[in-house]
């Protein structure tokens, strides 16, 4: 008698319903299966209408983020055996509008991503011509921002963040961490221009350091720490601006 287990999956088909429902599927239980394997099995063998995102199956692309029993996780990294024989409840990541089934709308994230200017910015006249070779960086300088460069944009941190769930104007953990990744990169000179976004009311100051973003991050980026450190540096900036207003650059 082959073992099975139940997956209770969030369904939303806008063309035929105005409210989401849940559908229970019974899938084979395999010791080495992850939740994504079970969902792929459903799609292939049981119900081809189920819609969801996935790609690499190995935790590097960031596509398969879902709420698994209320916790944001990568479905390719969660083993069935850790839940067997209990039922697993699967929903799209919290805080985002749902397009269809497990597919959520990422537009807000993508817009903010671009606004953070996630690339090396050099000041006017500071751009090194190609003939002069690469920008050199020591291992110690790399160590300062490396952790923040590991983000795979899976958005689990947004799903874990109650501030974002309550107010989608909040810039959010991953994007602030990304801003810090460039701010702390010794080759970058764009901190001031990113500060407009980071130090705004919708930026770091909405964060109440719940810390769940860092707890769920599959790449150990620790966005919560990135945000708190940005609070410190932004506060120092603020006092400098207020106490030494003539010291402003440009």
């Amino acid at each position: 008698m082959a073992e099975t287990m139940k997956l209770e999956i969030f369904r939303y088909r806008p063309e035929k319903e105005s409210e989401p429902t849940f559908q229970i599927y019974e899938v084979p239980f395999r010791e080495d299966w992850v939740v994504l394997d079970a969902i792929n099995h459903i799609k292939e063998e049981i119900d081809g209408t189920l819609s969801y995102r996935w790609s690499c199956q190995m935790g590097v692309c960031g596509s398969c983020g879902m709420m698994i029993n209320n916790v944001p996780k990568l479905s390719c990294a969660v083993f069935l055996k850790d839940y067997y024989p209990d039922k697993i409840r699967i929903e799209p990541l919290t805080g985002f509008p749902v397009e269809r089934d497990l597919i959520f709308e990422m537009d807000d994230f993508m817009t903010k991503l671009t606004e953070m200017q996630p690339y090396i910015i050099r000041e006017e006249g500071e751009e090194k011509p190609l003939e002069e070779g690469e920008y050199l960086q020591s291992p110690a300088e790399l160590a300062h921002y490396k952790q923040y460069s590991m983000c795979i944009n899976c958005m689990l941190c947004y799903a874990a963040c109650p501030v974002y769930a309550l107010d989608s104007n909040f810039i959010g953990p991953a994007i602030i961490a990304l801003g810090q990744r460039y701010n702390m990169d010794s080759r970058d000179q764009g901190r001031d221009s990113r500060q407009e976004l980071i130090a705004s009311h919708d930026g770091i100051w909405e964060c109440t350091f719940v810390g769940e973003c860092s707890a769920v991050c599959p790449k150990h980026v620790d966005p919560a720490a990135a945000i708190q450190r940005a609070k410190v540096s932004s506060t120092i900036d603020w006092f400098k601006d207020v106490l030494i207003p003539w010291g402003k650059k440009k």
Binding site: Y12, P14, E15, S18, E19, P20, N70, V71, T94, P97, V98, E99, E105, P139, A140, A143, H144, P162, A165, L166, T208, F209, V210, G211, E212, A215, D222, A224, A225, Q228, R229, K231, V232
Partner: protein, 127 residues
């Protein structure tokens, strides 16, 4: 085709343990403020003469005062522990490529706490 926005209940924080612990941490601030008010009243009684002050200090022996103090202490200790444990996230120090261990940063604050507590006790109690 419309997207569906899931409503967020105000009881969102009851759904998972990390959120409940977060809310408890945030509520410690109420007890912190409570003790500030207590100290304010104590200092006020100092301006009202020896009798008023004496009555206030005598009231500290009452069961309700002790109980309130103990509850406040529990919450304030939770504040202290969560506060110090979060300092290494904010105070990130490097020696070359190596990051200063988080335990060392937090440990320094705990050590400082012991020192401050001893000094305060020594000054206040005059022992």
């Amino acid at each position: 085709m419309s997207t569906y926005l899931r409503p967020v209940p105000n009881t969102w924080w009851l759904k998972r343990k990390p959120y409940i612990l977060f809310m408890i941490r945030e509520l410690t601030s109420v007890f912190v403020a409570g003790y500030c008010i207590f100290l304010l009243v104590l200092v006020y009684k100092l301006t009202q003469g020896a009798d008023a002050y004496g009555n206030f200090m005598a009231a500290l022996k009452s069961p309700s005062s002790v109980a309130l103090h103990l509850i406040t202490l529990a919450f304030v200790l939770y504040h202290t522990i969560t506060w110090f444990n979060l300092t290494p996230k904010i105070l990130v120090l490097y020696r070359g490529e190596e990051r200063v261990p988080q335990g060392l940063v937090a440990g320094t604050f705990y050590a400082g706490w012991v020192v401050v507590s001893v000094i305060v006790a020594w000054l206040v109690l005059g022992v």
